[in-house]
Symmetry: C2
Subunit: 200 residues, 2 copies
């Protein structure tokens, strides 16, 4: 397998973290998204949506969308439940992450911490902030009742997807410390076997 | 089963369309999102993220996120491939829909057509427009090579998810007629057995 990715991307980190925890080897190909490399014709042939990460499979085909990649790699492993309804609940959190969390938390982090355009994007950052806080609050409320996102006591793909940008939410101007259950969960995730850091 | 939904929601329509095509009966409960009913404590107990649609299952538990509901209802039916990689490709399009399509096309339609706040949201509508066009362009490019989104010749959950807001994109100020492959696909979807309209 070959992973097309950008080192500072939380979406890419999700896939790197799961691959590390599965003990699977792969070739890493850095795509400089700031230099427009994910919009080249060559890259668009791999993912017409022009986004990383993209996983090139052993049959030479490509799979995009970080959470679709997570789901696929986790099939048949302890990171994804076998029961159909529990799998759907994992998906519920994966869609929550992409719709209600990432666009506000990752985007503000990108402007403030990666692109360095905090000043020119100030109005959008301010508009995003309460929406990101709302997502963190929903997560915190859920974690007051259980240890992990899908099964109460089992770490899995939903935790990986939500951890990626939550653990660096401070870089987007969010104070995760105000959410005690969320903060404890971050520690539980980072204590999982074969955990790797985002910049590993 | 019981579906908590809002009649003008494309996310809700996805679920209603699949349920109709599966021939499954259910109780419909209208939630007036404009009156704040999806933010009540009673509703938040069903979905802490405060969004419709929510499916109440026969065991009394709740499932949120339209595309997670689609995936779950389609398991074991002709609307979802059996092969793991093909299922992941369906998921790739479901995540594309929620991240790169819905926030721009559905949101502009909501302001312009449902809430009637086109004037006060004019700046956001204008900022969203090219992003929505980009999503339609990605879809059109894909449909130049195959008849449906996941398998080349088989209609399924990815088509349902993407159809819901694309077929009413004109209500959000988008001219779908400029995308010939996309326009043909809209016709193929509406000709599927047991198809129902959004306001059915």
């Amino acid at each position: 397998m070959r992973l097309y990715d950008y080192r500072d991307s939380g979406n890419g980190y999700k896939v790197r973290l799961l691959l590390a925890q599965l003990g699977r080897s792969y070739e890493y190909v850095e795509v400089d998204i700031l230099a427009g490399e994910s919009r080249s014709e060559e890259f668009l042939a791999r993912n017409p949506n022009g986004r990383i990460p993209v996983l090139e499979l052993d049959d030479g085909s490509f799979l995009g969308e970080s959470n679709a990649i997570l789901f696929h790699l986790a099939e048949g492993t302890r990171f994804l439940p076998e029961d159909a309804l529990e799998r759907a609940r994992a998906l519920q959190w994966l869609f929550f992450e992409q719709y209600s969390h990432e666009p506000f938390i990752a985007t503000n982090r990108f402007w403030l911490h990666i692109a360095g355009t905090g000043a020119e994007n100030a109005a959008q950052i301010q508009a995003n902030h309460p929406k990101g806080l709302s997502a963190l609050s929903v997560m915190n409320r859920h974690l007051e009742h259980q240890g992990f996102f899908t099964a109460p006591d089992r770490y899995g793909v939903a935790d990986i997807a939500l951890y990626a940008y939550t653990h660096v939410a401070d870089q987007g101007g969010y104070d995760v410390g105000q959410f005690p259950a969320l903060s404890s969960w971050l520690e539980r995730v980072s204590a999982q076997p074969r955990y790797i850091a985002m910049d590993a």
